[in-house]
Amino acid sequence: MAKTNAIPLDELLDAMTLLRRFEEKIVEVYPQQEMKTPVHLYIGQEAIAAGVCAHLAPTDYLVTTHRSHAHCLAKGAEPERLYAEFYGRVTGCCKGMGGSMHPAFPELGITGTSAIVGGGIPHGVGTALASKLRGDGRVSAVFFGDGASEEGTFHESLNFAALKSLPVLFICENNGYATVSPLAARQPDADVAHRAAGYGIFTEQVDGNDVAAVYESAKRALAHIRRGKGPAFIEAKTYRWKGHVGPEEDWTRGGRPKAELDEWKKRCPIELLLTQLEKSGLDRAEYAAKVARLDAMLDAAIESARSAPMPPVEQMERLLFRQETH
């Protein structure tokens, strides 16, 4: 966490690089058809998870979506426990019960993940309500897409959070698409923040590919929340590079124009930061060496995940209900 006013750009770069490389590894291994889970890749959006989560303590709560990997990693999840989960192994964070869409790391404040669009938004409000009732000072951060903002739960959640002044940060990652459906086919204008405006809560819009901007916006929003002023809402505009699900790019199947992707690739959040840091002395070769070390770690994590055992069949039944009583 940032202790000073300076933006910890190096840490943010590391964080984004981890999120990127973690998923690029998935792209690599996915064609082997051993990772039998629908992967919704975050590549292109890394500045948001990195910029927001830099401000969160392990005790703070975080809610993610079907596009979950980056939020978990940025909150501190071990890559291997995610990979193992994607491989359906018993060493996965959910013992192979959830796969890519449903990670849970309660020790990191991630108490489970819904792949029902909009399903998780009220959950962040619920953890925030718990914090308020307990007075434990935790904040909750809820990530969701532009598509999710169309669900009724969005409205119900913002209304309740505002009503009760709950310590919750809503982060709408507006990547312009829900599957291959463009925002214009789903909402009356391009700014989800307009819909959020009516609840009278702290609201900002930010360039979701500019990690410093996200970091600063989240800092303001969380300061507001931590001062007990109630919820905040950030709309981060961004773009996802890969298909809605799976490692391919959407234009290959007619999902969207390739030119649009190419434009956005020029605004790669990592490249933008690298370019900026070069000006203040970052050495590309050093960075490359760092990435190589990261890659080695990730390769080892993948290998270890892949060679872990499958869960025992009886586990399914055992996990239906929790047995102990209060």
């Binding site: 709560y61 809610v63 996965g92 964070c93 959910c94 013992k95 192979g96 019960m97 959830g98 449903h102 849970a104 309660p106 108490t111 489970g112 819904s114 029902i116 399903g119 998780g120 938004i121 009220p122 959950h123 962040g124 409000v125 619920g126 953890t127 309500l129 718990a130 009732l133 307990r134 009724g152 739960t153 409205h155 119900e156 959640s157 209304n159 309740f160 009503l163 399914m316 055992r318 996990l319 239906l320 209900f321 929790r322 047995q323 102990e324 009583t325 209060h326």
Partner: protein, 344 residues
Amino acid sequence: MPWTSVCLNDEDVCCLEESGHRCLTYVQALREAHDMILASDPEAFVIGEGVDDAGGVFGSTLGLAETYGERVMDMPIAENGLTGVAIAAASVGMRPILVHMRADFLPMSMDQIVNHAAKWHSMTGGQVSIPLVIRSIIGRGWGSAAQHSQGLHSLFLSVPGLKIALPATPYDAKGMLLAAHADPNPVLYFEHRWLYGAKGPVPAGHYTVPLGQAVVRRSGADATVVAVSHAVPQAMQAAAALKDDGIGVEVIDPRAIAPLDMDTILASVAKTGRLVICDVACRTAGYGAELTCRLAEAAPQLLKAPVRRVSFPDLPTPASPALEAAYYPGVEDIKRAVRQTLAK
């Protein structure tokens, strides 16, 4: 066993009171359970439309807000979102009781119940459970009509991961709410509005009634009647009346339909060979269907006569009093069904 008794009239209550048993109405028992939960468990809170108001959900939460402040919390009319809120609060160890004035409003929050609460413990590999109680009330009469009178407990029967309680007596109302609160899993708790005034013995202290343990309300050798919720007093009345005709009816109240205590039911049908199932819901795909199927899987030869279901017809509830009267089955229908199983 006064605790399993069903008081059908003032006399029954008098008897119990005279022999030293404390009697409360169903709604008083409910309120007492809430009070005990809130007093003993700082993680518990009650949330629902009107839980803190002058009506107090027909009296069941009356005055609790004065004692427990914001832990007895009104809410916006936003059932799905607020169910999600309660689920997440439960996921971090709080113990919410979410209250709906009508079971009919549960479909609003179906996604959070079916896709989230019920599956969370499995999906998270057992890391996170959802100790959430959802109370809802089955309405009846005065033209409540199609959207304010459904018995929707069956709607959830096919969803693994939920427990479904339908207490029929004041004793069970208290004991099962305490059990539901203590359960680390999501529990749907259905009350019938017409039970609220019913009186019966209720111990003052803490006790729980296990979710999934049937009780034999009355013994008999000729026919088994399984009934839940408001159908229990009806079945008891029918049994009492049939007794006068020399027919011994065994009345079983499963108290929960998930988990369903088949052992008690099978033992009874093994004795009687006749089965009548009474529900406070439409006929098709109720707990009676599941019960009968499990019987047919376990021991179809036990049945000496066709099974009978006494339930609402497969129709939306009509408003007109003339139609309501025809719509709802009563004691006579149960008696007729029992006789039919004995005719063969």
